[in-house]
Symmetry: C2
Subunit: 332 residues, 2 copies
């Protein structure tokens, strides 16, 4: 059973998940394995994953069979499991809990694509719809207080499977990074009576030095204080705290925006490994005026090293104004 | 000029240091370069570094010449520079400052050793003495509020030079990770009137399930909630807030402890890439009863990925009790 352990000094928690040590690596095209027989996310290999939670497939086709365009399955090597309850324990001065939660994998296409940018706009829109649908479903389970949606692309960014996919983890607590962000946003709101992200969108859209692109409902920008070279954020122009409240029309625009942005990064950096994370409000909050959901995309070009681990600060050799110019130069 | 930029929402700061993009990689033995002519940290290549700040060398030998056993030099590609003042600026809603500071490199030996464990105990003691000496000297400059001492070993852990070395960065502010740790320790002290690290040392030394080794003045343990597999901490048994107050006798014991611990990790994990960070009190604090300096050693075996970046939580497949048993089994 995975354990959620609390650091005795910090708000930091660690999930001790021994299951995950058993993960095999599925980077077929870097070795000799044939994806058609060895990739657990390819069509016709449905029996290599646990039974699907959600699938987009034509009516008439059966679960766990070919024919789907997108599948969501439980992570086979989960960091948290839904069967457990959140039961707290102590060991002397320490606290831990059985780590109830959900850990799901969104398989973005039946084809063996190794880069999300290779998907069509309709496929990317399907991925975003699946994110929304799963968050709304998990929200019904009142044990969960937050859901994190993220992508690890490439082994350097922590992926063990090359077939393009994303992940989702639901947790019974609000993670420290999320609560710190909420606290900072609330502080700005209490000071200025405005959402800090709305301010930021307005500022960047008018000064333009860090504005990568502007779409109907979204802006793409390099943030003022990026941790990593080419860190890029996508924000909705309209104030909205919950990602899962996104409309179908916005999903279509976000799909175009995300696909274009990943393409820009691929052309500028030759298909870099990367992570993205959707930052959204914890599940059941009443006050929503101060927070604004967004996506943070982080190419993995440098290593987090002693300085970052010790300080929580980051050293970044590339000013975001320069990153913006380089990305813009690769716009088609 | 490097800039210290503040995130508009979080306590996180980022140093934008364009200089650092120019760093060449010096992993000679993985390529074909001969360290004798290409390694900037080898004896006889003193002119490849900026002039030394400190050197241990026999009387009669001259600065920037061979004969030394240890050198401290300014980082040639610094993240912060001592010439600047800490001048704050604003750009619209954003804040930044010129990033005054010191960024120094401790060259641990004149020989081309690529692993600190290959140094003799006397050499490691010299490295620790140099750390102490430099912190005490930088403490005289009242612009600095904290000094971070750390090691990046191996390219996967962020090193660009293989010749064994450590680094030190002095900053005009207290980094968020340091202030969070102080806050947690103060909370424990206010609740129990005891130092949390003293409690932790007592608990681990008596239960022994996470105790790797015990020396005269130090204990080595795997922490209860480790972020990374084989994360290992070294703590002084006696309460002490400031690393730089270490005695000569303690330095000798710490050198033996650190060398043995790195050797254990090397034998257990085949010379893993790793980072270590010395956690010590900010420079000029009056209250010291609640804080306790220590070293955190973090082998780099897994990647920080989307989940960690999004939550600030960590997924670790290896329980520290198991890591402890594996390390102990490699004790000579």
């Amino acid at each position: 059973v995975p354990q959620l352990r609390k650091d005795p000094i910090l708000a930091r928690r660690v999930i001790i998940a021994t299951q995950r040590a058993k993960r095999p690596s599925h980077f077929g095209s870097r070795g000799n394995a044939d994806p058609a027989t060895s990739c657990p996310f390819c069509e016709n290999n449905e029996d290599m994953t646990p039974p699907e939670i959600l699938a987009y497939r034509p009516s008439g086709s059966s679960a766990q069979q070919a024919g789907w365009t997108l599948r969501v399955v439980p992570n086979k090597f989960p960091a948290v499991t839904r069967e457990e309850d959140f039961a707290p324990y102590t060991e002397g001065m320490y606290q831990y809990a059985s780590s109830v939660g959900a850990h799901e994998v969104i398989i973005e296409t039946p084809r063996h694509e190794t880069n999300m940018a290779a998907l069509g706009e309709g496929e990317v829109a399907g991925v975003l719809s699946a994110y929304r649908e799963r968050v709304l479903a998990l929200k019904e389970d009142r044990r969960f207080r937050s859901v994190l949606i993220f992508k690890n692309h490439g082994p350097e960014a922590g992926a063990t499977i090359e077939h393009t996919h994303s992940q989702l983890i639901a947790l019974p607590i609000v993670p420290v990074n999320v609560s710190e962000e909420l606290k900072g946003a609330r502080h700005h709101y209490e000071t200025y009576e405005r959402c800090v992200y709305c301010d930021l969108v307005r500022h960047e859209a008018s000064t333009k030095t860090r504005l990568v692109s502007e779409h109907d409902a979204f802006v793409v920008l390099c943030p003022f204080a990026p941790r990593f070279p080419f860190e890029t954020w996508i924000l909705p122009k309209k104030h909205s705290a919950y990602f899962e409240h996104i409309s179908q029309r916005e999903i279509v625009d976000l799909a175009a925006t995300l696909r274009e942005t990943l393409g820009l990064l691929n052309r500028t950096l030759r298909e870099p490994p990367l992570n993205y994370v959707i930052h959204s409000m914890p599940l059941h909050e009443a006050q929503t005026a101060h927070y604004h959901w967004h996506i943070e995309i982080m190419p993995k070009l440098t290593q987090i090293a002693g300085f970052e681990l010790g300080t929580g600060f980051y050293i970044n050799p590339l000013p975001p104004e320069r990153a913006t110019a380089l990305l813009r130069a690769h716009m088609i």
